[in-house]
Symmetry: C2
């Protein structure tokens, strides 16, 4: 391991925060899992220790990291033991590396990095079986200590639900749900004539999404929290982020899917409208400091972790989504191999379009990769379908458009058929993700985001009906939640004719109706000249004169006319050419709109994630575990309790 520059994307996580805010590094002494970590009894994890010696900068201490540090574990009031003794493993070798980082933005502008030298050890694949409190102590520099207080939660070894389905609306907030309901469901005098399926769930909770290193999370580390009960750093999954350069040597935590495979052998389904290598689906089995190591993560999804001894894993029973780049042999695939062939050789039937997917036998493992990149969104698959033929996203890689595309509902219902058939009495777990709620919010393409939110709700409704028909509804815990938010809301209506007719921005702004001038939703009023014909619970008209005035507080320079975009939106572009990441209003986006200058760094071309707690809707066995307000890790512990995944000894697996 060698020196690395720790900036932006590769910023290290923290045990205790050093003084910087924008840039972070581990403290002088660091234990990972860190102080305040919670564990499922019997869950595998690695322990990384680091001792830092800053060479320069505000904490410079001579630059010689202690190679003689010691580490002990103590349960409750029992005496502390050397970790190798406690876990009955041999003492790991000492590792050493250097890295550099910036203490703040002024240091970055001045190109004055700080250098840190590191000594480190890692204890691999250990577990704590007995519930209770533990104290893990790192001692270094002749008596300095870093103490981590750990909690192993109470045991639940019995299953209370045969199946669990976790729906994730990526980036979905209560505000978006409110807006989607308004455009998709008819209201008379303030009373809705129908509700969203998620509105009908009996239990509601809020989860706090903050990550270890930041109060605003990304989808990788929030997925890690949801799937493993361990919060990590932005862009990491299935590992705590250490300061070394290698993204695959970081200390791992065992995921729900690995636990479920090891303990019950249940069927596993992973469905997403994103690339299957995208953070939310791939974090179910992925262990990497970087969510961008796509090819390796797809290999882990099939073969499990192979560089270290870890839970055996041989791929999900259902794996549906986009992301052909990691399957077509070449630069995007792991070691350049053909992953269609790899999956096929491992017993998977492989579908590259909706028709083929629906004909697949329910008895074999199924891989479905329907396009390169992410799946086209509901609005383009159902309303503005001309968009589809402009794509070059055929999953074979032939640069032709993928036209025979499933939606989230198609994939999810087929997955249930397979999971019920293959899970039999062992039950199943499925994660089904509406990924483009997030992706289209990033693009400030609110209609496309809300369309995919309504598609998610339609999928949940169809799932409940299907489970009922299969006799599995009462056996199944269904959760609907998100991984983080975007700061979206609706603040009125826009008279798009008036807005377009005016020639200066201040006059255009008077087209916005607020309070009583917001009026009522025109999206549910049938437009005689256009048949949208997408069924109830979707808008009857996507392009009314009076639209939602909606937006976010954090955005690049944009121009808004509040009309539906007939092709996917690109709000900001680099119009000057230099520097490379310097974004202004896209000259082609909404030329008749109101320009609003940006509120985030000029190198951001899109909207960004936000702080807000996100909703959790629960129905089925254990639903009562998901009411009230709690952390994202509690979703993992709730599912683990419901599935009886804790173990008080290492007799299993």
């Amino acid at each position: 391991m060698i020196a690395v520059s720790v900036v932006f994307v590769a910023a290290a996580s923290i045990c205790t925060l050093t003084s910087a805010q924008t840039f972070q590094r581990l403290a002088l002494g660091c234990v990972l899992p860190p102080d305040q970590a919670d564990f499922l009894a019997g869950q595998y994890f690695d322990i990384r220790l680091e001792v830092h010696a800053p060479v320069n900068g505000s904490e410079a201490n001579g630059g010689v990291p202690d190679p003689e540090f010691t580490f002990t574990i103590a349960k409750a009031d029992e005496p502390a033991q050397a970790a190798a003794t406690y876990f009955e493993i041999s003492e790991p070798l000492l590792e050493q590396w250097n890295f550099t980082w910036y203490e703040d933005l002024f240091a970055q502008d001045a190109h004055t990095p700080s250098v840190v030298r590191v000594t480190s050890k890692i204890y691999r694949r250990v577990a704590l079986y007995e519930p209770g409190e533990y104290v893990a102590t790192l001692t270094y520099y002749n008596g300095t200590t870093t103490v981590a207080n750990w909690l192993v939660r109470a045991l639940q070894e019995q299953k209370r639900a045969k199946n669990v389905i976790l729906f994730i609306g990526d980036g979905m907030t209560t505000n978006m749900i409110t807006a989607a309901r308004l455009i998709g469901h008819k209201s008379i005098n303030g009373k809705y004539q129908s509700k969203l399926q998620m509105d009908k769930f009996p239990v509601l909770g809020h989860q706090m999404t903050h990550s270890l290193d930041s109060y605003v999370t990304d989808s990788a580390n929030s997925a890690c929290a949801l799937y493993s009960g361990h919060k990590t750093s932005v862009n990491a999954m299935g590992v705590y982020a250490d300061s070394s350069a290698d993204p695959f040597d970081d200390p791992k935590v065992e995921t729900l899917v690995e636990l479920l495979t090891r303990i019950w052998g249940s069927a596993i389904g992973i469905v997403s409208t994103a690339s299957v290598a995208d953070a939310t689906p791939i974090a179910l089995t992925g262990h990497s400091r970087s969510r961008y190591t796509y090819g390796s993560l797809v290999d882990q999804a099939l073969h499990g972790v192979t560089n270290y001894t870890w839970t055996k894993y041989f791929g999900p029973d259902v794996f549906f989504g986009g992301g052909a780049e990691q399957f077509i042999p070449g630069s995007g695939s792991y070691q350049g191999k053909n992953y269609y062939t790899e999956f096929s050789d491992a017993g998977y039937t492989v579908s590259l379009n909706k028709t083929s997917m629906q004909e697949v036998s329910n008895d074999t493992k199924a891989l479905g990769v329907f396009c390169t990149s992410h799946l086209p969104v509901w609005l383009d698959r159902n309303i503005y379908t001309d968009v589809l033929s402009t794509n070059k996203n055929d999953p074979s890689g032939n640069k032709k458009p993928a036209l025979d595309l499933p939606g989230l509902k198609d994939m999810t219902l087929k997955a249930i058929d397979i999971l019920v058939a293959r899970g039999v009495e062992k039950g199943f777990f499925m994660m089904s993700e509406a990924a483009s709620v997030d992706k289209q919010m990033h693009a400030l393409d609110y209609d496309r985001a809300l369309g995919d939110l309504l598609e998610l709700d339609d999928t949940i409704k169809a799932t409940i009906e299907k489970l009922k028909a299969l006799g599995e509804l009462n056996n199944t815990l269904i959760l609907v939640t998100a991984d983080h938010g975007h700061g979206f809301d609706v603040f009125g209506s826009a008279d798009t004719e008036y807005l377009s007719s005016k020639t200066n921005d201040r006059e255009k702004r008077n087209a916005i109706g607020v309070y009583q001038n917001s009026g009522l939703s025109q999206y549910t009023v049938t437009n005689a000249s256009i048949s949208y014909n997408t069924g109830v619970n979707f808008p009857a008209n996507w392009d009314p004169r009076y639209t939602l005035a909606q937006g976010v507080g954090a955005h690049p320079d944009v121009r808004e006319n509040y009309r539906v975009h007939k092709s996917p939106r690109v709000p900001a572009t680099n119009i000057t050419g230099f520097p490379a990441n310097d974004y202004f209003v896209n000259p082609e986006d909404n030329p008749d709109g109101i320009i609003v200058n940006g509120t985030i760094p000029t190198y951001e071309a899109q909207g960004v994630h936000s702080l807000t707690d996100v909703p959790v809707f629960a129905m089925g066995p254990c639903q009562e575990l998901f009411g009230g307000v709690y952390g994202n890790i509690d979703i993992f512990f709730g599912m683990a309790e419901c599935l009886g995944l804790a173990r008080g000894s290492n007799a299993t697996g």
Copy 2:
């Protein structure tokens, strides 16, 4: 009644929406309460009928409204009866008036109003006692009908809770709660070391806040929904809005406080950090088409409705807040009378400061008016106290500053003492409002809004402790909710030193840290040089270098530097002088900040309300009624069920 121009503030509500969006009027035939209205069995209400004859405009029909219209009521499958027969009252007289309105913004710009002639009747103080569905039918123009389907909900005549406390964080959203928790509660490695009191409530719900005439509500009509189970129009309370000019002749609905007084004689407490005449407190007993009829509404708060036969009401037991303008004799008070004297003459002890309030006997009715306008916010009463002496808000009207001011907690705890003493076995109802969450969000003064949100939470915590000490906790349903939202969220951090050091806006924007660069909350880190000393669960530092990057999507022209404002914020001003309502960035606000041009009409000087569903936290008897997703009217029906306020006959009251 004479012709009135129906524009902006005075826009009429709808039964069925006419074609316009920004401007609205009642349909050709109109029944109020309208189609889809729900009723508590035995709840008093008035019925307004209107028949419209547009003289010109897109619906012109000759301009002669039908004077011969008829109106019938039918329960379920029973035969329809003339309403006067059904309710055993005499047929009301025919009324006639005209009004004008604009069909859209183009018509407004062209000054081409449409004229509508109206015939109308109103049936006053009726009630439906038998649960079930009713059909109300207005027949006009030789057979045209407007049908209203009404539902009287199931009866609950028995009390399940002795007391109900309804806390309202005006404008408070989940996003704001998340941000307040982040600045007020310490987190270690992503795990909070303490939580908000509201986080600990066992039941969580979401309420939809839409009003009758608009999907974005104001605080008057949302208060009407919460307190009476009837959604009305923006700026109306306790009435459905008809199209006549008189704001006091509109059809009324009976409120929770009126029902509780009539049926159980319980003690009533009304506490707010706003003027007591502001919409949220005054709507508990107010009946007016216009929330701006402050003096009249204060008179109603003391004497009840006096212009028509209605539920007898003699004022709340506790009435604490600001708003001295309506008490000091003069232009702000009803008929120029001295309302301190009016209340005193009615048996109230009157307090004009905190010291006096705290010394009041718990046995008598108490009025506390602590300043003109709204109470100064928590941040100014506790941190930036120099602000207080710059005010001219003494409640005596002497133009001196009010300095001996209670906060929400002081007022609420004293109110409980009085309500417990006066309610005795009859129990009590209290509404306690943190009004400036909303008011400071309007001013885009996020720190002041979040400070008042934390004060609300601190008040809830102290309330629970006090009820426990008084032996009343298990008798009391506590609800915490809001009336609407603002589109607020946090999207990262701001390095205020870096931002301030740069000279152009694009460079300043790079001070914003998003995702991992958001880092951790610096508000909970003690600042050695400043003692804030406001106790746990409030920020240890309101002015750190790294602040929250936060904002809304809907705002006037503003300039943001993301620092705390040491005096209350005024984001936009009229710098050109003409036209009168034309707002630009306030030159004195954040001169070192980033300018962001507005997204709402240029005549709006502040941020505006938003669409989002808002949270409901419930604990105590009947808490289970408040889980899941429902309308704001269901809060009323839940409280009414818990308090046993339905009546199956007119034997009571």
